[in-house]
Symmetry: C2
Subunit: 313 residues, 2 copies
């Protein structure tokens, strides 16, 4: 299933009000990107505009439900989480020296490290301006907390880089901080606006995030890219338990020439299947843990959970 | 007058409640720096601990006045502005490849670019968590807006780097964004907590920020450091009007060997005196524009304004 079709299907499953909100979001993001001078329009703006799947805003809208008075707040929250997500992409590219993102040059490649760092800071700040204008300190606290997690996770990733002995627990904690927290925040922010069950929806968001390396044509990342920049991912951790020789590999010595063979060695242990089974199990739990919700809202959220597995695993 | 003595004098002028708050702030910052794992304690923590003058927190406290119920909110706001300030220092050092700050190795020098970028992001986020917990969306909006200015100013500085023809107006706008906005925010946040005149105190904070290059022993920056990294400051802009030959200088060709001579050439035009007079004029305006305030509060704020000129000019 192609990713674009999946996201469109998810929007459709959410109903016409979700489709309307997703369109309003694009307009709002375009205004935000264009209203702070030419430098920002060029750099921050391209990152926002390049888009991606808008999965986090979609989760805000789906978690908020269909109450009309939740619309303005949901839109703010959705724009804010997407701005934070864009900020992390811009900074990640600075850290990883990424040159292409979604087929376009990254900010750091086009404008240099300094401009990209400042553009990322700008996008972070803009997210908080957006949310603060809604006048909900609880919403700001949720987003700030998620951002804190993002940077803690980033620090942890840097501390663990090149270390093939990282434990599954530490790996999971890193994923939670780096990725799951913002998904959780998206669901909680939606729940806050729609007066829905914040804790349960947040838990759902936290669980459906999978950091399982999928095939390059779906994730958009070249095979083995994580290993080349020293990031130890779940398949390697699981493979290491099956083939202990993998634990002694010096990742710093793995270059472009060796990485395909290492990926094959990991795959040969069955670790990719194990990671996929694990992901399916967690997503099943996430779906089972969904609270009482209107049928359409529940069905759409379940589809998101399935879609995420489909995409990554 | 030595800088440290000046700050102590300022605290004393604010009265015993300000001295008490400044101590509580140190405790609070130490707790914040130490409560998010070893990586952060090492990197974010050292930047916060290295301290500096805590001029922004002081402005929060002085702007809040002496009402006891303003204490908890002022402390939060003071910690938040200092965290934002620390975040910008960490990121600035990444951008400028700074190796020493306040006599200690910078985070980027000690731990690398990646750790420093993440540590800066962490400090930003922690500031918003701190403020959001106080439950005041108006305060969050003030801080977020200042952060937006900081990053817009940073983008502008990068866009203008190495351009000796930058106008005074554009230079002033950059200073306002990069520095004055956070001083303004400190005063406004204090005023919000103390129910004082937010607009007028904010205006005061905005005006007392001077970006006039003072002697190296007071500013802590080596002479000509700005010119070497391409940052065109007011003395050069003013000197250019007096000696048009300076407008055609290629700053990229100015190295360590040439910079002292360029500084001398700028000084010879009288531009430093002109910049100083300008600063004194603006500070006088800032003091004249102070609203009706209790005598001690007003006197302490006036001393801050004078102290800033003393330090820089």
């Amino acid at each position: 299933m192609a990713t674009v079709a999946t996201v469109e299907a998810l929007i459709q499953a959410g109903g016409p009000h979700v489709a309307g909100l997703m369109e309003e979001l694009e307009t709002r993001l375009a205004v935000l990107a264009g209203s702070h001078g030419p430098e920002l329009a060029r750099h921050g703006g391209t990152t926002i505009a390049a888009g991606g799947k808008r999965l986090r805003p979609l989760l805000v809208f789906l978690s908020a439900g269909e109450a009309p008075d939740a619309r303005p707040g949901s839109l703010r929250a959705a724009a804010a989480v997407e701005l934070v997500h864009s900020a992390t992409l811009v900074h990640d590219d600075v850290l990883d020296r990424g040159t292409l993102r979604r087929g376009r040059p990254t900010v750091v490649a086009a404008a240099g490290r300094q401009m990209a760092t400042a553009a990322g800071d700008f996008l972070f700040s803009r997210a908080f301006v957006e949310l603060a204008e809604g006048g909900r300190p609880d919403a700001v606290a949720v987003l700030a907390d998620a951002c804190l997690g993002l940077s803690e996770g980033e620090l942890m990733q840097r501390a663990d880089a090149w270390d093939p002995t990282v434990s599954v627990e530490r790996y999971e904690r890193r994923c939670e901080l780096k990725t799951a927290r913002l998904f959780e925040a998206a669901c909680r922010l939606g729940a806050l606006e729609g007066a829905g069950p914040e804790r349960e929806l947040g838990e759902f968001g936290r669980r459906i995030v999978l950091d399982v390396s999928g095939p390059a044509e779906r994730t958009g990342k070249p095979r083995g890219a994580d290993l080349l920049d020293g990031t130890v991912t779940l398949p390697l951790i699981l493979a290491r338990e099956r083939e202990p020789g993998l634990a002694t590999i010096d990742l710093r010595a793995v270059g472009e020439a060796e990485v395909a063979a290492l990926c094959d060695r990991i795959a040969a242990t069955g670790a990719l299947d194990a990671a996929r089974s694990r992901a399916l199990g967690i997503v099943a739990e996430a779906k089972a843990g969904l609270p009482d919700l209107p049928a359409r809202q529940r069905a759409a959220l379940e589809l998101v959970a399935d879609g995420v597995v489909e995409r990554f695993a």
